[in-house]
């Protein structure tokens, strides 16, 4: 069945709205329903229909009365109810003052504040994720959805601000009706189009960004769609049922939504969506082809590699991330640089870090902020070889690797400190920690 759609913005102007509906009926388009954004018309025979708009809540006695008088209910948006009839019936609204009184209650000012407040809550929750991303890189290395989380949340907050603006413009338009100024049909429709298109464009941009970053993970597209879809559903439900709720009920529902929004956005960042596994991959343990070293890994800790050099044992840790694109690789690289720099000067801790796994603890408990990327980079020595950039930081204090002389009990020199080496090879980022000579060997293996 053919359908036509017209934007709903007009519904607050009864004269223009009724004229539009009646004109459409003359052309054969009969109003079927009104949703959150559009009037929906279905194709029928061209006929003369009279439309009436009412602002009262549904009530058994009142509904029966209207039905008896011949007004046929079509659909409602909030407390604006549309009736039609084939014959001309007495006007429903005979007092302009009373009509304005009812219309003023249509869109409460609280919606503006509520949208802005929710936007602020979301921005706050998004900004709060700065610490946990570092944790992600070590303990949840494969859950890179959170790299884009903040961007999505900020865009969502942006659309809420735009919605608040739309509500403000509609309220202004209603106020001006009371003063006898009817906004041009163009204004209502233009505002509606402008704001909704802008919101949609923002959201589509975010989805494209997601696609470009995680192009082989369909689920990561569904995650933002889930958030956006639920806000759209919430708005549609709100517009349909808000007219049947009393003021006290409305406040209760909105408070519940606000609290749930807070909780949802605070804990959504901890949602372990099993996505992005392909984006950041740990490399397989390889054998270093050097007659003087043998390499094996301890199964209990897949990132620990124990290297035997010249017959002596030496520890090293390696994390490698094969990222699907430069953006993810950049993000991982920058975080690792900042973490290594932090390990060299751990602010707010009275003992150094022991190993990468302990840095997971750091992510939670770091009392000082990570140094900025530019500050951190200064601590590194940079070398470039073909196809790889190597950043090395020396003399990082590492607690567990101190080797004590079995006789004297005195710690041996050079066992206090480690080197950390971060290698960037196109979209692969490797971080190696160990004694200087061990790190050197592994480094050469990666970059030859």
């Amino acid at each position: 069945m053919m359908k036509k759609y017209k934007p709903i913005g007009l519904y607050i102007d009864d004269i223009k709205c009724r004229k539009m509906l009646e004109d459409m009926a003359e052309q054969g388009w009969i109003l079927e329903s009104c949703g959150d954004s559009f009037f929906v018309f279905r194709k029928g025979t061209p006929q003369t229909l009279h439309y009436y708009i009412d602002y009262n809540r549904s009530d058994p006695e009142y509904d029966a009365l209207l039905k008896e008088m011949g007004y046929r209910f079509v659909d409602a948006r909030r407390t604006v109810r549309i009736y039609c009839s084939a014959e001309e019936l007495p006007e429903l609204q005979t007092d302009p003052v009373t009509r304005m009184m009812a219309l003023n209650e249509l869109i409460p000012a609280s919606e503006i504040w509520f949208s802005l407040l929710l936007a602020a809550v979301i921005v706050f929750a998004a900004l709060m994720t700065s610490g946990s991303l570092a944790v992600d890189l070590f303990s949840f290395f494969f859950h890179s959805t959170r790299i884009m989380y903040r961007i999505l949340m900020l865009v969502l907050a942006g659309t809420l601000v735009l919605y608040a603006l739309l509500v403000y413009l509609q309220r202004r338009s209603i106020r001006r009706q009371a003063e006898g100024i009817r906004s041009g049909m163009d204004f209502n429709i233009a505002a509606f189009y402008f704001i909704n298109i802008l919101s949609s464009v923002l959201l589509i941009l975010v989805l494209c960004l997601y696609w470009l970053t995680y192009h082989d993970s369909l689920f990561v597209i569904l995650y933002p769609l889930l958030i956006l879809g639920s806000t759209w559903i919430a708005r549609t439900i709100m517009n349909r049922y808000i007219s049947t709720m009393s003021r006290k009920d409305k406040r209760t529902v909105l408070s519940i939504i606000l609290v749930m929004g807070l909780l949802f956005f605070r804990f959504a960042i901890n949602a372990h969506l099993d996505t992005g596994r392909e984006q950041v991959r740990k490399t397989d343990i390889v054998t270093y082809h050097d007659p003087q070293t043998s390499l094996y890994s301890e199964e209990t800790n897949p990132i620990l590699q124990r290297i035997s050099i010249f017959g002596a044992d030496s520890h090293a840790e390696e994390i490698a991330a094969e990222c699907s694109n430069g953006f993810v690789a950049d993000t991982v690289f920058r975080k690792l640089i900042r973490y290594a720099a932090y390990m060299k000067n751990p602010v707010g801790r009275d003992y150094p870090c022991s190993n990468f796994t302990a840095m997971e603890e750091y992510g939670h408990l770091a009392e000082g902020p990570l140094p900025s990327y530019t500050d951190a980079l200064e601590l590194f020595v940079k070398e470039e070889t073909s196809g790889a950039e190597i950043y090395t930081i020396h003399d990082v204090p590492m607690f567990n690797d101190i080797i004590y002389d079995p006789v004297t009990g005195i710690p041996e020199a050079d066992t206090y400190v480690n080197d950390i080496c971060i290698i960037r090879k196109q979209n692969t980022v490797i971080m190696i920690r160990g004694f200087a000579d061990t790190v050197q060997i592994i480094r050469e293996f990666h970059t030859k």
Partner: protein, 106 residues
Amino acid sequence: MARKEFETLTPQMYYTLLVLKNPHHGYEIMNEIAELTDRAVQVGAGTLYALLPRFIEDGYIAMVQETDRKKIYQITDAGRRKLLQETVKMERMLRNYREVFNDEKI
């Protein structure tokens, strides 16, 4: 607490309160007003049912009976005082009119 829209009653509001001297339900109110004014004032269903709950909120009328889904309303003392207030205003207007135009033929 009273709405600012009710500070000066419009004719529609005035007549609604007026006919509620006796208890009536919604549809009866509309008919009473049309009869009383010889169809000069017609109150639409939408307007009437917008006024009734708001009059109740402001204390001008009260629901005196609820039978069989039909609610019956009647004016309260506060409503009577409001009507009187408005009537006094209108009487003054009439008086001033006659003073100004002094039985001139218009």
